[in-house]
C-alpha cells in the first residue's frame, strides 16, 4: 500500500494542479447579478452598453414553471440577445458544463439564496453584482435601491468568505458598495 500511495501522490498532485489550472483558466461570466426585477432597462440597455452580452441565463424556479413569464422575458429582450430560463437544478447543469460564451453570458437570479445554490452546485463565479432588491417584509433598505434581510446578508457573507467579490450597484459607472464595507458599517 505505501508504494501505491507513493505512486499516486504525484498523479493526484498533477491532477489537482491541472484542475486548479483549468478552474482559473475558465473565463468568468460577463456578469452574475442578483436583481428581483430580472430583465429591465438597467440590464438590457445600460449593462449592454458597457459590455457585450449575447445571452442572458435566468435561473429561477418560479419563472421556469411559468410559460407566460418565460415568454414575456424572452420578448422583452432585444432580438440579438438570447434569453434562456432554467430551474435551479437545470441551471447548475447548464452553467457548470458551459465553458464557451461565458464572457458574453449574463446570469440573472432573483435572490441571494439562488446565487448560493448555484455556487454550491459548482457554478464557479468570482464576482457577484447585487443590482436590485426591492423592499419586502424582513428586508431593510441598506444601499440605494437595495433592501436586504439579515438571512440574505448571511448568505452573501458565506459567498464572500468563499472568495466571491460582492458589490452592490445597479449600473456600471455608479460607485459600488462592497459587502465588506456594508457589514463593517452595520456593526458599528
Amino acid at each position: 500500500m505505501p508504494s501505491d500511495t507513493q505512486s499516486t501522490i504525484p498523479d493526484e498532485h498533477a491532477a489537482l494542479s491541472a484542475l486548479t489550472k483549468e478552474v482559473s483558466a475558465i473565463k468568468d461570466f460577463g456578469l452574475v447579478r442578483i436583481d428581483d426585477r430580472l430583465i429591465h432597462g438597467q440590464v438590457i440597455i445600460v449593462w449592454r452598453r458597457h459590455r457585450t452580452f449575447t445571452r442572458i441565463v435566468i435561473v429561477d424556479d418560479g419563472v421556469a414553471a411559468d410559460p407566460f413569464m418565460q415568454e414575456v422575458l424572452k420578448m422583452a429582450a432585444p432580438p440579438d440577445l438570447q434569453v434562456e430560463v432554467y430551474s435551479v437544478a437545470q441551471g447548475i447543469a447548464v452553467l457548470t458544463q458551459d465553458r464557451v460564451d461565458r464572457e458574453t453570458t449574463m446570469v440573472l437570479v432573483r435572490s441571494p439564496q439562488v446565487a448560493r445554490q448555484l455556487f454550491d452546485g459548482g457554478v464557479i463565479y468570482r464576482a457577484l453584482n447585487v443590482g436590485g432588491l426591492g423592499l419586502a417584509p424582513g428586508r431593510k433598505n441598506v444601499f440605494k435601491s437595495i433592501s436586504i434581510s439579515d438571512d440574505e446578508i448571511a448568505i452573501l457573507k458565506y459567498l464572500m468568505e468563499n472568495g466571491v467579490d460582492i458589490a452592490f450597484y445597479s449600473v456600471p459607472g455608479e460607485k459600488p458598495k462592497m459587502l465588506g464595507d456594508l457589514i463593517h458599517r452595520g456593526n458599528r
Binding site: Q42, R49, F68, M75, A76, L135, S145, G173
Partner: protein
C-alpha cells in the same frame, strides 16, 4: 430616518413658506427684467423654480421628458432672460451631450436639467454664447446627482407616512402623501440651490470670463474648442448603444451625406433615415415571425364594476404623479398606490378591504411609466374581478406586478429613452438651429415646439393605450403587444434611423479644425486644406470614433473623457505654432481651432 408628526408638519410648513416667498419674488420678475442678459434675483428665482418644475409631477409626465432636457431648458431660460433665440441655440448645443443620456431604474448618470438651466443662464450672462456653452454646462451636469441621493432618501420617509395612512384606511391621506407632502421639500431642494447658484454664479462666471478675456484670451478660445469637441462625447455615448447589430454603416452614410450637402435640415435627414430604415427592415427581416407560441390567454370579460371613467381617473393619477415620491425604498410604490386610489374607493367599501387594498399597493414597484402602464391596467382588471368575487389573492396580484414590472421597464426604456427621446430631440435640435447647429447663434422656436408636441403625443397616447389594453385584456395584453415581431422590426428600424441621425448630428455639432499653416518658398500651405482634400470634416469624424473607442472598448468613464477633452481644448489653444492671419502673414496660433 424617523420623522415624527410634529417635525414633519414643521418641515412642510417651512418649505411651503419658502415656496410662497419664491413665487412672490418671481411674480415681480417681468417688471424688473433688465434688457441685457443679467441674472438678477427675480430671474435667478425663476430659473430655480423652472428647475424644480422639471423634476415636479405637475406637467403630466412632461417634466422629466421635456422640461428636464437642455433644449427646452435653454429655451425657457432664454425666454426669462430676454434672449430667446440665443437660449434655444445654447440649449440645443448642451443637449448634444445628453442625447444618449438614459436614467434606467434609479440610476442617474449626470443631470441634464442642471446643465440646461444653470448652464444656459451662466453661458448667457457670461457672453459665452452657443459655441462655448458646453464647456461650462458639461461639468455642471455632473453635480446634479448629489441632490438626487438626498431626495431619494427623504422620499422614503414620506412613504412611511403613507404606510400609516394606509393602516388607518385613509385613502385621501395616501394620495396626499404622494402628490402634496412630497413636493415642498423637493421644491426647496431643487429650486433654492439652483436659484442661488444662478444668482451668485452668474456674476462670478462673467467676471472670470472677462478677466480671462483680457489677460489670456486664448483660454477663451480654448473653451470654444472644448465645446465643439465635447459634442463628440455626446455623439459617442449614443454610438455606444447604437453601433451594433449590423446597422452601424448608417452612421457613416448619415455623416457623409450631411458632410457633402453642408448645412442640411435634420427633418430632411430624418425622412431619408426613415426611408433607409424601412428598406433595411424589409431586406433583413427573415419573415419568420416566431410561430405564435402563446397559449393564447383568453380575453377577459369585465364584470362591469368599473367604468372607463374609473380606469381613466386612475391613469391620470399615474400620468401625473408616478414619480412624485420616487425613493430608494419603494421607488414608484407610492405612485402606484396613488393611482389605485380611485379603484380602491370604488370597489371596496369596508374599512378592512380598503386598508388591505392600500397596503397591497404601497410595496416596491418600478417600471417605465408609459408602456409599463399595461401592468397597472392588468392589475386594475384583477382588482375588479376580485371585488366581483373571483378567487384572486394578494399573491396573484403581486406576482403579476413583480413579474411584469421588469420586462415592461426593459421594453419601455428601450423604446422611450433609447429611441423616441434621442431621435425626437435630434430632429428638434436640427429644426431649432436651421441645420447650422454648431454655428447658429440664435435658434428657431419651431424646434422646441416640435419636441413638446411629439413627446406629449407619445407619452399621453401610448401611455393611455397601454393602460387601457392592460385593463381590457388583462396580462394577455403584454404578449399581444409583444407578439408577431413588430416590436423587433421597429427596434431594428430605429437602430438604422438612430445611426443615420447621429452621423448627421456629428457633422453639425462637432467642431474641430486646425489653424496650422506655413509658407515654403512663397507657397502657403494650410494643414486644414490638406485634411479637407482627403475628406471634409475628417477631424470631427476621427474625434467621434476615438471617443467611441475609448468608451466602448477601453471602458473609460465619460467624466474622465470630459475632463480630458476640456483640457485638450484649452491646451490646444496655446498660441505657440505658426499660422496665418487674414492677410496671410505669419502669426502664432494654437494646434486647434
Amino acid at each position: 430616518m424617523k420623522i415624527n408628526r410634529k417635525q414633519f408638519g414643521i418641515a412642510i410648513g417651512v418649505s411651503l413658506g419658502l415656496m410662497l416667498v419664491t413665487f412672490v419674488v418671481a411674480r415681480a420678475a417681468p417688471a424688473t427684467q433688465a434688457p441685457e442678459a443679467k441674472v438678477d434675483l427675480a430671474t435667478a428665482a425663476i430659473i430655480g423654480i423652472l428647475y424644480y418644475f422639471s423634476w415636479s409631477p405637475w406637467f403630466a409626465n412632461l417634466g422629466f421628458t421635456v422640461l428636464y432636457r437642455p433644449l427646452i431648458a435653454g429655451t425657457l431660460v432664454g425666454l426669462v432672460m430676454g434672449r430667446l433665440g440665443e437660449g434655444i441655440a445654447i440649449g440645443a448645443n448642451i443637449n448634444v451631450l445628453y442625447l444618449g443620456w438614459i436614467a434606467a431604474g434609479s440610476s442617474l448618470p449626470g443631470d441634464p436639467g442642471l446643465a440646461g438651466y444653470l448652464g444656459t443662464a451662466l453661458a448667457l450672462s457670461g457672453g459665452l454664447g452657443a459655441q462655448g456653452a458646453l464647456a461650462v454646462a458639461g461639468p455642471l451636469g455632473l453635480l446634479g446627482s448629489l441632490t438626487f441621493s438626498l431626495r431619494m432618501s427623504v422620499c422614503s420617509a414620506i412613504a412611511h407616512r403613507a404606510d400609516r395612512y394606509a393602516e388607518e384606511g385613509n385613502i385621501k391621506g395616501v394620495a396626499r402623501s404622494n402628490y402634496i407632502y412630497s413636493q415642498p421639500f423637493q421644491f426647496v431642494l431643487y429650486a433654492v440651490p439652483v436659484a442661488l447658484a444662478a444668482y451668485i454664479g452668474a456674476p462670478a462666471v462673467e467676471g472670470a470670463l472677462n478677466w480671462i478675456g483680457q489677460n489670456a484670451g486664448w483660454v477663451l478660445g480654448g473653451l470654444f474648442i472644448a465645446s465643439g469637441m465635447l459634442a463628440a462625447l455626446g455623439i459617442a455615448l449614443n454610438l455606444k448603444f447604437l453601433f451594433r447589430g449590423g446597422v452601424w454603416p448608417y452612421f457613416f452614410i448619415g455623416f457623409m451625406v450631411t458632410s457633402l450637402a453642408g448645412s442640411i435640415n435634420l427633418l430632411v435627414m430624418a425622412i431619408i433615415g426613415v426611408s433607409l430604415a424601412v428598406i433595411h427592415v424589409q431586406f433583413t427581416d427573415k419573415g419568420s415571425a416566431p410561430p405564435a407560441p402563446a397559449p393564447a390567454l383568453a380575453a377577459r370579460t369585465a364584470s362591469g364594476l368599473l367604468t372607463r371613467r374609473d380606469v381613466f381617473r386612475a391613469w391620470l393619477r399615474w400620468l401625473f404623479f408616478s414619480h412624485s415620491t420616487y425613493n430608494w425604498e419603494r421607488q414608484q410604490g407610492l405612485g402606484f398606490a396613488h393611482a389605485m386610489t380611485p379603484i380602491i374607493e370604488k370597489l371596496y367599501k369596508t374599512k378592512e378591504d380598503i386598508r388591505a387594498g392600500l397596503k397591497r399597493h404601497l410595496v416596491f414597484f418600478n417600471t417605465q411609466p408609459d408602456i409599463g402602464g399595461v401592468v397597472h391596467g392588468a392589475v386594475i382588471a384583477m382588482e375588479e374581478e376580485r371585488a366581483a368575487g373571483a378567487d384572486i389573492n394578494d399573491d396573484a396580484i403581486n406576482s403579476v406586478k413583480t413579474g411584469l414590472m421588469g420586462p415592461m421597464a426593459g421594453i419601455g426604456d428601450t423604446i422611450q429613452q433609447g429611441m423616441v427621446i434621442p431621435i425626437v430631440y435630434a430632429i428638434g435640435m436640427g429644426l431649432a438651429t436651421g441645420g447650422a447647429i454648431g454655428t447658429a447663434t440664435t435658434g428657431n422656436i419651431l424646434g422646441p415646439l416640435f419636441v413638446v408636441v411629439t413627446v406629449a403625443a407619445f407619452t399621453w397616447g401610448v401611455g393611455w393605450l397601454a393602460w387601457w389594453q392592460g385593463y381590457r385584456q388583462g396580462r394577455a395584453a403584454v404578449t399581444n403587444i409583444l407578439q408577431g415581431g413588430t416590436l423587433s422590426r421597429v427596434i431594428a428600424g430605429a437602430g438604422v434611423l438612430g445611426n443615420f441621425i447621429m452621423g448627421a448630428l456629428a457633422v453639425n455639432f462637432v467642431k474641430l479644425t486646425t489653424p496650422l499653416a506655413f509658407t515654403i518658398g512663397g507657397t502657403t500651405i494650410k494643414i486644414q486644406d490638406i485634411l479637407n482634400s482627403f475628406m471634409p470634416n475628417l477631424l470631427p469624424l476621427a474625434l467621434v470614433l476615438i471617443i467611441w473607442w475609448l468608451l466602448a472598448r477601453r471602458n473609460l468613464s465619460p467624466t474622465w473623457i470630459m475632463a480630458a477633452v476640456i483640457l485638450i481644448g484649452v491646451l490646444g489653444a496655446i498660441p505657440f505654432l505658426p499660422g496665418l492671419d487674414a492677410e496671410g502673414k505669419i502669426i502664432w496660433v494654437g494646434l486647434l481651432e
